[in-house]
Amino acid sequence: MRRLWKGNYALVEGAIAGGCEAYFGYPITPQNEVTEYMSVRMRELGRVFLQAESELAAINMVFGAALTGKRVMTTSSSPGISLMQEGISYLVGCELPCVVVNVQRGGPGLGNIQGAQGDYFQAVKGGGHGDYKLFVLAPSTVQEMYEMTKKAFNIAFKYRNPVMILTDGVLGQMMEPAEIEESVKCKGQSVREIEDLGWNLTGCKGRVPRFIRSLLMGEGELEDHNYKLQEKFLKMKEDLDYEEEGAEDADVILIGYGLCARINFEVYTTLRKKGLKIGYLRPKTLYPFPERRIRELARRKKKFLVVEMSCGQMVEDVKLSVNGESEVYFYGRPGGGVPEVEMIINKIEEIIR
């Protein structure tokens, strides 16, 4: 049924529909609605909810639940996600699936509680120690807060890797109509029976004991493990997702993710009506990134304007994709500032002139 939903609530329903069996979290604005609503929904559905003593504990509780093969999630906002980085690195090293949501706020430090996009590098380039990638999804509507969270669990299990949903405080707090199926049917139903997935720890009844670790001290062991992980990160391109409009005949293509993509779309429709050849491209997955499509467009000498709620992070990936074949421009605002339509239009006029 289509009705008004707040982004953070839609995210919770998405997790439940995606089969999330356990949630561990710690309060932080602007994602408190997630933890609060989870505490109600998970309990009434007979699933696991626990308010952890810190984000450090929360991510390690996720680690514990994940190694049994259960579908597990945590959510936080920027400072809390920083605290989780060690745990995320261990989850990747141990090849454990889980979903981590970052409802970004302004930084650095305690920053503010406005929405921002300053954690792109942290999400997309690893974040913790070691050579690794997360699969990163970037919703842009309340509907996608639901859809992407729902889908995230399957991706996490497909690759046995943490999936990060990178959103922000504005989307989390925003109300808009969305089509969401509230899982009331399974009310009273408990978590699914534990399955043997061939790697999970469930107690060794009927099989040889297993262990899960990330310490690999044997000659060449860690190098081999890393090559195996890298292969997996490359394979993630199978689930690459982006959308575009008007790129084929455009002179300048606007690129942004999440909230910025909505603003870009408004600019795109306004300028198209005026007859300007503007294109619109939105990565829905930030890793993997639509680098091939961007390179293709760059070879045809289309220019790019990247818009972000930061001083310029994704723009580096656009530049790497363009690889010198065309020009890349940037407009962004950090610390909770939201890019304005007029400023983007001015910038485009400058580029065209």
């Binding site: 509780m61 680690f63 745990g87 720890l201 262990f211």
Partner: protein, 241 residues
């Protein structure tokens, strides 16, 4: 003592130094698990510390956790699989220093998990630095003239947690001679019974030898453990059994 290898131990040699307490504690843990018939239900967590390779020796499902986080990892497992037996095995650096917060809150929540806490008064794995449990006056590589008050007082974990309502069983034992080893094994069984009967958080602290970290002979290490009891009295601090 029996010399049959317990089913809960793999028949392989371990990497511990001569005179180390870890091998002894592994053995009595394995015997206790066998005697309670719970091996196939156990999910254990190895620490970051000398016992990190526990999974090479323990014949049950085991995971390795980040330094200090085993109680949080155990919480995650136990919450989704409440009928499994979840055990963490941690050193004093792991449990009492970097993992102090996870210890406190898992104990306070009364998580039905069992912590086997090896207090060897130093950081063995990283070369014998001061631990929170190092008694005053003891020399380590970061207190070369002996620990002084400025370095902090030795942290008494059992005394710290015993009054928390969530704690169901808490005992301090030592493993320097056969008599104490037998008592230590009984303590492990009690702690596991506490978990099986869902009576809350359980912890056994072992005063244990680290001749390498202390830079003494295995024989002298036994004397050190005896002296540690002046600071860390052994006994049952709490039992809801």
């Amino acid at each position: 003592m029996k010399f049959k290898i317990p089913e809960s131990l793999k028949p392989v040699p371990n990497h511990y130094c001569p005179g180390c307490g870890h091998g002894i504690i592994h053995r009595i843990m394995a015997e206790a698990i066998d005697e309670l018939g719970i091996r196939e239900k156990v999910i254990a967590i190895a620490p970051v510390g000398c016992a990190v390779f526990g999974y090479f020796y323990w014949n049950f499902d085991t995971a390795e956790a980040a330094h200090g986080r085993p109680p949080a990892v155990a919480t995650g497992i136990k919450r989704v699989l409440p009928d499994r037996i979840v055990i963490t095995y941690q050193g004093d650096g792991d449990l009492a220093a970097i993992g102090g917060n996870e210890l406190l809150h898992s104990a306070n929540r009364g998580e039905n998990i069992t912590i086997l806490f090896v207090n060897n008064a130093c950081y063995g794995m990283t070369g014998g630095q001061m631990a929170p449990t190092t008694p005053l006056g003891y020399r380590t590589t970061t207190t070369v003239n002996g620990r002084v008050i400025d370095d902090g007082y030795p942290l008494k974990v059992c005394e710290l947690i015993k009054d928390l309502e969530g704690v169901g069983y808490c005992e301090r034992v030592s493993v320097e001679d056969p008599r104490n080893i037998m008592k230590a094994k009984k303590a492990i069984k009690n702690a596991l019974k506490c978990q099986i009967e869902k009576k809350g958080f359980s912890l056994v602290e072992f005063l244990s030898m680290c001749p390498t970290g202390w830079r003494v002979s295995p024989v002298e290490a036994i004397e050190v453990v005896k002296r540690m009891k002046e600071v860390f009295p052994i006994g049952v601090f709490k039992s809801k059994l």
